[in-house]
């Protein structure tokens, strides 16, 4: 048995996870990139992206998930997403207004359209995705800590 079978759930769950986790991640990215032309957006996309990492953690245990996205990286992405959102909003001042949509809006219903909105969606997805992952990590760590105390 390889090392990856030691922690986490059964082989069936792990195999299914291995097959689906990439698709979930891709679907999340699809939702967030098409936020301005179809239902969804930064929040929904960010949640789905975070779910793919949480899925990994549930199936393989937390070590495996931390290898893909460490706690430090999650916290960095969370603050970075917020800063990025604020910077986009601030750069609207170049056109004279806070939050001004200053980029060329392009043709409706194309992927590259709607000015700053896709950029905002990406920033939100960082914030939400990393934030949700961090909350889940906090719950997992809290649980392990309290178990250790009971012993």
């Amino acid at each position: 048995m390889s090392k990856e079978h030691q922690a986490g759930m059964s082989l069936i769950v792990k195999t299914i996870t291995r097959l689906t986790v990439g698709l979930i991640l891709l679907y999340g990215i699809y939702i967030l990139l098409h936020g301005h032309i179809s239902p969804g957006g930064g929040f929904a996309g960010g949640v789905i992206v975070a779910l793919s990492f949480i899925h990994l953690m549930l199936a393989y245990g937390k070590e495996m998930a931390f290898k893909k996205l460490s706690k430090g990286a999650a916290s960095f992405l969370e603050s970075g997403g917020a800063i990025m959102f604020l910077l986009i909003a601030l750069s609207g001042f170049s056109g004279g207004y806070f939050f001004l949509n200053f980029i060329n809006k392009g043709e409706p219903f194309r992927l590259f359209s709607a000015g700053i909105i896709p950029l905002c969606n990406i920033a939100i997805s960082f914030k939400v995705g990393a934030g949700l992952f961090a909350i889940f990590v906090a719950l997992v760590l809290l649980k392990t800590n309290s178990k250790e105390k009971e012993r």
């Binding site: 603050s79 800063i83 604020l86 056109g95 806070f98 939050f99 001004l100």
Partner: protein, 499 residues
Amino acid sequence: MMLSEQIIPLFVVIPLAGAFLISLLGKKVKLLPDMLGVLAGLILCILSILSVRLYNASGALTYSVGAWRSPIGIEMVLDGLSVFMLVTVNLVAFCIALYAVNYMEKFTAKWKFYTLFLLMLAGMNGVVITGDMFNLFVFLEIAAVASYALVAFGTERQELEAAFKYAVMGTVGSSFILLGIVMLYSYTSTLNMADMNSVLLQKGAGSLILFVSVLFLMGFGLKAALVPFHAWLPDAHPSAPAPISAMLSGVLIKALGVYALARIFYNVLGVSEQLSSILLFLGTLSMVVGGILALGQWDFKRLLAYSSISQVGYIILGLGLGTPLGILGALFHLFNHSVFKSLLFLNSGAVEYATDTRDLRKMGGLSQKMPLTSTTNFLASMSIAGIPPFSGFWSKLLIIVAACRAEKFGYAFWAVLVSILTLAMYLKVIKFAFLGSLKDSLTRVKEVPLFMKLSMAMLALICLVGGVLLLPNLYGAFLQKASQILLLGAEYGAIFIKG
């Protein structure tokens, strides 16, 4: 000169940027959280004072976020009342940020503290500056959620319990507010406050508005800790670290509770006869109940927390009177209470910092060891008890005179009586904590570090000279402008609709 409506969004942008920069870099760069926190406080304080000048020069200003025109997009409004609140909030916040530089040394994660502190500040500034109902709710939640986390900052059993209680009750309050906003939106089809006001004037207020008023009274009453909704405050405020207690009691309950209540009832829904009598009753009830409960407390900070309930009662009483003098007194008392109550909480923090206790029975004779803390505490206590010539005297006088002029002698009587109760409870603090002989366990106590002294001295100075705000020159520029906006009442919408 860049002083124009462009400064309006900065009140939200600066604290938000500070908060996220600290959370990004604060762990690595040791001095950054302190510097950014104090710097943001200072800049906001200066900007808010500049905004007084700006408002006096050019009247009410609006700012359309993202250049969307006003009934559709989010609008930020700088009028007399928001200028007044901005000055109050940011002045106190700056002093507290300064104080926290030394005080928060004993906690481990200072950067987390400053992040949450600035987020809370952003929320409060946002609530004050926004002209949009739903936006108000969003900022209210930012400030509230940050404050739930800050109450739990010590992560001891008691603090977590208080924070949990606060979070549950706060969320219930917020959902009432959200429900009220939803119903108003369905009735008026607009979220812009000024626009909502003029639609309501045209359509007339139905029974739905009565229901919405009740929801708002519960929601904002809970945030302002009026008496039937006050149960969270005496747990939450003492549990937080002292700078945060000062922030919560000093400005948070006023920005989220009293300000929002006044703004919505006076400028959006319009005040009816029943509503003002309810406000009068609730205000007096809070005043009396808070005062009596505070008298029996032995925990320094808990006593202050109950006293906050009592003093908010005064403000609500003044607002409920609805006369120009009453509103003026209420707003002036709001400003004064922010200053002296935050000073008192900072004093209690200083005592706790030096002696590690909050129990008044374990203190005694501290004035020998901590002269500055004791002097500032004396000034603040006299001010809150309404002893002339301190600032608290003038505002209480205004409220009581207003009650007499409105021929509500019963309420005036209670206001005077509670003022005596207030004096009694603060004399108790002074007697047990600062006067008397020094206890043996306290002989090694030292006065607190520089920044804590500096911020307490600044606030004490404002307490001492606060009365000058009533002098003709300053009065016309600051307090009068704020009360005028509330007095506009239902005509509020008209000044912003310009085609």
